[in-house]
């Protein structure tokens, strides 16, 4: 495979799974600039590990692993990442503004806020749960047993239910 073929294939895979990167980056950052830095860091690490992608796993499993690992590592660094491409800060992944504002319902905002308040690893598990990943795939991504995943999800859901119950009606 030539380097052009390789980058074309990579771009098409990314195009098909861009939502994963967007959601993970959004869950681990609290502002647009940090999110964009994180998206670029995730894409860079995906590209670096692309040559040894293991076909035994789905592309989504590979992307989730890299995205979550990079996000978890980045959330523990000081906020001093250099700007990657140029000072104009173009977005790698952008959402049409009008569309976003119409779909931002209050409950979704609350759910996102509660998820952001979870511990880092719980947040990763919850993201996978909300994406309706099978227990097997979640276990592959996280490196935990399905039983452990299941127990953890139960606890996180209890916390979220409790938080929603405490909201003023």
């Amino acid at each position: 495979m030539t380097s052009t073929d390789k980058s074309d294939l990579f771009i098409s895979i990314l195009e098909g799974h861009k939502g994963i990167i967007h959601k993970v980056a959004l869950a681990y950052t609290d502002n647009k600039e940090a999110k964009e830095d994180l998206v670029q860091e995730i894409v860079l690490q995906l590209w670096k590990s692309f040559h040894k992608y293991n076909p035994a796993f789905k592309y989504s499993t590979w992307i989730y692993r890299v995205a979550l690992n990079v996000s978890l590592a980045a959330s523990r660094k000081e906020n001093n990442r250099a700007k990657r491409i140029d000072p104009l800060r173009e977005e790698m992944l952008s959402v049409a503004q009008s569309e976003e504002s119409t779909v931002m319902v209050e409950n979704y905002k609350k759910l996102q806020e509660f998820i952001s308040g979870l511990k880092e690893l719980d947040r990763a598990i919850m993201l996978l749960y909300l994406e309706e990943k099978s227990q097997k795939e979640m276990a592959e991504i996280m490196g935990m047993t399905p039983t452990n995943i299941s127990t953890r999800i139960g606890r996180i859901k209890d916390v979220l239910r409790q938080k929603f119950a405490e909201l003023p009606q």
Partner: protein, 218 residues
């Protein structure tokens, strides 16, 4: 809210978002080419400068040691011992730091989350060990200026006492910090201040995460 509603709420929102999510292919292609490599290099420059400064410091110490040994006199014994030990401690710390950076650069992010995060955690916690080694040089900065020709034989009792108290307190501080600086003791305010000064907030953040991993693996 029922558990199924979490998923429905999430799906409903992201079905719409996914449709309007667009990827900037020009930017992506730039990221995959030389520009990305130069960006990574620029990130490393800051760390490389720290290493360069440390090397210059060690070379200067090495030169001072070299000329002291070349022109040896028994009056230089305290100086030779102190600066020699400071040199070795800093050399060890620099080697550890470089090793740490190399290992950090080699981490692949495509392994399972727990495995990779555990490896990253171990690497970040190794900065704590780096701090432990650095504190060992504290007492040596209170002895390098002494001269064998006048200390302790030719020094007055008052001066000897002051020197003992000074060096003794630095020895005590170094031992206290060496024993206290550990993953478990970072809740101690002084230890936390010291470690965050050497390793930055990243070490403290890594240690918070350490607890979370432990809990998950329990």
């Amino acid at each position: 809210m029922e558990e199924t509603n979490f998923v429905l709420l999430w799906k409903e929102h992201y079905q719409k978002i996914d449709k309007s999510l667009s990827i900037n292919k020009r930017l992506l292609k730039e990221l995959l080419t030389e520009k990305a490599q130069s960006a990574v290099r620029s990130l490393m420059r800051g760390k490389a400068f720290g290493i360069f400064a440390a090397v210059i410091y060690l070379v200067l110490l090495g030169l001072v040691l070299f000329f002291t040994i070349k022109n040896y006199h028994s009056a230089f014994n305290y100086f030779l011992f102190s600066i020699g030990a400071i040199f070795l401690i800093n050399l060890k710390a620099l080697c550890d730091y470089i090793r740490h950076l190399i290992l950090l650069g080699k981490v692949d992010y495509d392994g399972s989350v727990l495995e990779i995060q555990r490896r990253l955690r171990q690497l970040q916690a190794s900065l704590v060990k780096h701090c432990k080694i650095m504190v060992l040089q504290f007492p040596l900065w209170t002895t390098f200026f002494l001269s064998s020709t006048w200390f302790p034989g030719q020094a007055g009792v008052g001066y000897i006492l002051i020197q003992i108290v000074l060096t003794g307190s630095f020895v005590w501080l170094a031992i206290w910090l060496y024993r206290k600086i550990s993953l478990e003791n970072l809740s101690n305010r002084w230890v936390s201040l010291f470690v965050s000064g050497v390793g930055g907030k990243s070490v403290l953040n890594a240690l918070k995460f350490y607890g979370e991993l432990e809990e998950l693996e329990a």
